[in-house]
C-alpha cells in the first residue's frame, strides 16, 4: 500500500450505520426544510382556531344540554389532523419526488432503521406541536365555555387537567395525532406519491364519520364507528355518556393504533423489498 498522494486529505469514514447517526441525518433533513416548521405552526393554529370557533358558537340553554365540553373544545383536532397527515406524508414522499431517496439509501442502507428514525422524529415533532395546540384548546374551552352556559350551575365544572376524564381527553388527543402521523407515514411509504398518499389517508379518516351520520340502522352505525380510524380514535375525547359508546376510550385509541401498525408494517415490508 502506498501513502495517499499529497494534497488529498483523509476523511474518516462516516458512521451512519448507527441508529444515532441515522436519527441525526433525518433530523437535519426535517429541520432544514422550511415547510416542516410552517406546517407544524399552521396545524396548531388550525386546531386552536377551529376549537375556539366551536367554543364560541355553542350555547347551553338553562334547560340543559347533552354536550360534552371536553370533546367540544377539542373539535379542532378533526381539522388539525389534516396537517399532521401532510407533514408525515411529506417526510417520505418528498424523498421520492426529489430523487433524494437514492442518496439517503446509499448513505443509510439499513432501510428499516431509516424508517424507524423517520417515525421517531415525526412522532416527536407531532407530539410536541400537538401538546401545545391541545393545551391551548383546553385553555380556550376553560375561558370561553363558561360564558356560553357551561357553568357549574348547569352541571359543567371548568375544564381542568386535574380532572381525570379531561386529562384523558387532552393527553389522548395528543396520542391520537401521533398515531395519525404514524398511520400516514406507513401509507406514504407504501404508495410513495404525495398526492395519492394524502388523498388516501384523509379519505379513509373522514369517510367513516360522514357515512355513519347518514346510517339510520344503529347496528351498522356502531359497527362502522368502531372500526373507523377517526371515529374510534376520537372516542378518547369522550368524557360523558361513555356507556353509549361501543368501545371504551382506550379501546377506541387501540383501534387507531391497529390501523397505524398495519399501515406501518405494510409500508416497512414494501420499503424493505422494493427497489427505491
Amino acid at each position: 500500500m502506498t501513502a495517499p498522494a499529497a494534497g488529498l486529505t483523509v476523511v474518516e469514514p462516516g458512521h451512519a450505520r448507527s441508529g444515532k447517526e441515522t436519527l441525526h441525518a433525518e433530523w437535519t433533513k426535517l429541520r432544514t426544510v422550511a415547510s416542516t416548521g410552517w406546517l407544524l405552526l399552521g396545524g396548531a393554529a388550525l386546531t386552536i382556531g377551529v376549537s375556539a370557533a366551536v367554543d364560541a358558537a355553542v350555547t347551553c340553554p338553562s334547560s340543559g344540554c347533552r354536550a360534552d365540553p371536553a370533546k367540544l373544545s377539542l373539535t379542532g383536532v378533526q381539522a388539525g389532523q389534516a396537517i399532521v397527515v401532510i407533514i408525515a406524508v411529506l417526510a417520505v414522499s418528498n424523498e421520492y419526488s426529489t430523487g433524494m431517496i437514492r442518496i439517503t439509501l446509499t448513505a443509510m442502507p439499513r432501510r428499516l432503521a431509516l424508517l424507524a428514525a423517520k417515525a421517531t422524529l415525526i412522532t416527536g415533532l407531532v407530539v410536541a406541536a400537538s401538546a401545545v395546540a391541545v393545551l391551548a384548546c383546553v385553555l380556550a374551552g376553560r375561558l370561553i365555555l363558561p360564558g356560553h352556559g357551561f357553568t357549574t350551575a348547569h352541571g359543567y365544572p371548568l375544564l381542568s387537567l386535574g380532572h381525570g376524564p379531561d386529562l384523558r381527553a387532552a393527553c389522548g388527543s395528543v396520542l391520537y395525532l401521533a398515531l395519525i402521523a404514524l398511520f400516514s407515514l406507513g401509507v406514504a411509504t407504501a404508495v410513495r406519491e404525495t398526492a395519492v398518499a394524502i388523498g388516501l389517508v384523509l379519505g379513509l379518516l373522514y369517510v367513516f364519520p360522514v357515512v355513519t351520520s347518514a346510517i339510520s340502522n344503529q347496528h351498522w352505525q356502531r359497527q362502522l364507528e368502531q372500526i373507523g380510524p377517526m371515529t374510534a380514535g376520537l372516542y378518547i375525547q369522550a368524557t360523558a355518556n361513555l356507556r353509549s359508546l361501543p368501545l371504551t376510550p382506550w379501546q377506541g385509541l387501540g383501534v387507531l393504533a391497529l390501523w397505524a401498525t398495519g399501515a406501518l408494517s405494510s409500508g416497512a415490508l414494501v420499503f424493505r423489498f422494493r427497489d427505491a
Binding site: 415547510s35 388550525l46 377551529v50 370557533a53 366551536v54 358558537a57 355553542v58 350555547t59 347551553c60 340553554p61 344540554c65 347533552r66 354536550a67 373539535t75 378533526q78 381539522a79 389534516a82 396537517i83 401532510i86 406524508v89 411529506l90 414522499s93 419526488s97 406519491e193 404525495t194 398526492a195 395519492v196 394524502i198 388523498g199 384523509l202 379519505g203 373522514y206 369517510v207 364519520p209 360522514v210 357515512v211 355513519t212 351520520s213 347518514a214 346510517i215 339510520s216 340502522n217 344503529q218 347496528h219 351498522w220 352505525q221
Partner: protein, 538 residues
Amino acid sequence: MTTVTPYRSTARDAHDGFGQLLHAEWTKFRTVRGWVIGMILAVLVTGGLGVLIGKSTVPSCSVQNSSGQQGPVQHGAACGQPGYPLGPGGEPVRDEFYFVRQPLAGNGSITVRVTSLTGRLLGAGPGSAPPVVVPWSKAGIIIKDGTRQGSRYAAMMVTGGNGVRMQWNYTGDTAGLPGTVSAARPRWLRLSRDGGTITGYDSADGTHWARVGTVALAGLPSTVQAGLFVTSPQQAAYSSSFGSGTVNNNSTEATAVFDRVSRTGRWPASAWTGDDVGAGGPTAGSAAGPGSSRYHQVAGRFTVTGSGDIAPLIAGALNDGPAITVRDYLLGTFAGLIAVAVVAAMFMTAEYRRGLIRTTLAASPHRGRVLAAKAIVIGSAALVAGLAAAAAAVFLATDVAHGNGSSVFPEPWPTELRIIAGTAALIAVAAVFTLAIATMVRRSAAAILIVIVTIVIPFVLSAPPGIPAGLTEWLLRITPAAAFALQQPAPQYYQVQASYIPSSGFFPLAPWTGFAVLCGWTALALVLAAYLLRRRDA
C-alpha cells in the same frame, strides 16, 4: 463546391392551434394509467358508499324496541310501503285536518269570522293537558279539490303565532293581518273562487277588507269542496343547539270557534259534513286516535277541533316519517372529490416534477392557452366521472333501499336531476379549482392541502351532527364547499318548523348560489394561475 440539401422532415407541419393543444393534453391525461384509475376510483368510491348507505337503511315498518335494537324485520310487500301523499308539485306533503265542508258548484265565495284559537298537547292525560297553541296551528276556510290527500287547495287561516296567512298547494304562503285572534280581536276571512283563480281577503271588522293574495289553481274542477278547517302540527322539541337534530315530537290539537258564516254562489248540499281528512293515514301515525277531532254547530256557531298539518313534508321532521333522502346517498361525494382532486393536482404538478413543462411550453408558447386546455380536459373528465358517480350512487342506492323495504323521501324529478347534475358540476368545477391552485403552488402537497382545507374539511365538519350549526353554516357560505348546497334535497319552508341545519341537509345558501360561490373562487384562482404562469419562469 457541392451543395448540401438541408434535411427536411417528411412529417406534416404541426400547429399550435387550440385543437392540437386540447388533443395533446387529452393524450397526456389518458395515457397515465394512475390518473384514469383515480377517476374510476372516484366513481367506485362514491357509488359504493351510496350503496352502503342504501343497504343499511332501516325498513320503515321495523319497530325499534325499548333497548334500541331493531325489531323483527319484515321485507317487501308484507311490510307495505307507506305512501306519503304527493302534492300537485310532486313533493311529499302532510294533509291532515278536520274539514267541515259542503260542495261548491262553480264560482262562489265563503266568508267567516274566527273568534278563538286554542290548543293543547296530546298524549298527556285530559286533565293535565297544558294549553299550548303551536305557532303553526291553523284554523280558517279552505277551497279544495275534494277530500283526497294531496289534492290542490287554497286556504285563508288564522295561525297560533304567525297572524293571518293565505296558503295554497302546500308550498305557497303569504302573510295577511298580524297578531293573534281572540274574542276581542276577531279575524274575518274570505275566499272567493272565479274560474281557476281563488282570491283571499282578510278583515278585522268585517267591513274593511284587504286582499291577501290571488292564486291560480290549474286544473281545479268546477265542483269543489269548501268549508272550515282546523289543524295543528306536532310541537317539535329538538336540541338543535348542538346540531344533533334529535326530534322529540309531541302531537297537539287546536280548537277554533267560527261564526257569521256566509256564502255566495251555488252550494247544492243542504248540510255541513264533518270529515277527518287523513285520519289513520300514513302520516297521521302519532296523532291522537279517532274521536279526537270533532265539531259542534250551535246556531251558526261552529266549534271545530283538529290535529295534523297541511304543509310540505320535511325529511326527518316527523318521528315516523322518512328520514333518508337522495342527498344521504351522495354523502360519499367528498371521497370521490378527494380522488378527483388528487388527479387534477397531479395533472399540473407532474409537469413540473418531470420537467415536462419546458417541453409543453416550448411546443405551445401561449401559456394561458395551455392552462385553458388543461382546465377543459380535466374539467370534462371530472364531469363525466362525477355524473357516473352521482348517478350510480343515487340509482343503485335507491334500488337497494327499496329492496330493503325502506321508504326514502321521494323527490320530484327536477330536484333529483338537479342533485345528480349538480354533484357532477361540483366535482368538475372543484377539479378545475384544484388545477388552478396546483398551477399557482406547483407542489401537489400544497395544492391538495389547500383543496382539503377549503372544500373537504368544511363539508366534513358540517355533515355529521355535533358541531354547532352556526359555525358550519358560516363555513358553507364563504368557502368553495358552499357548492354542496347543490345536493340540498328540499327547500326550507318558513311555514314548517324543523331543524334546518347542514347536518340535516339544509344549506345556508340556495343550491345555485352555493355553486356560484365555488365558481367565483375557481374563476379567481384561474386568473391568478394564468397570471403567475405567464410571469414566472417555468
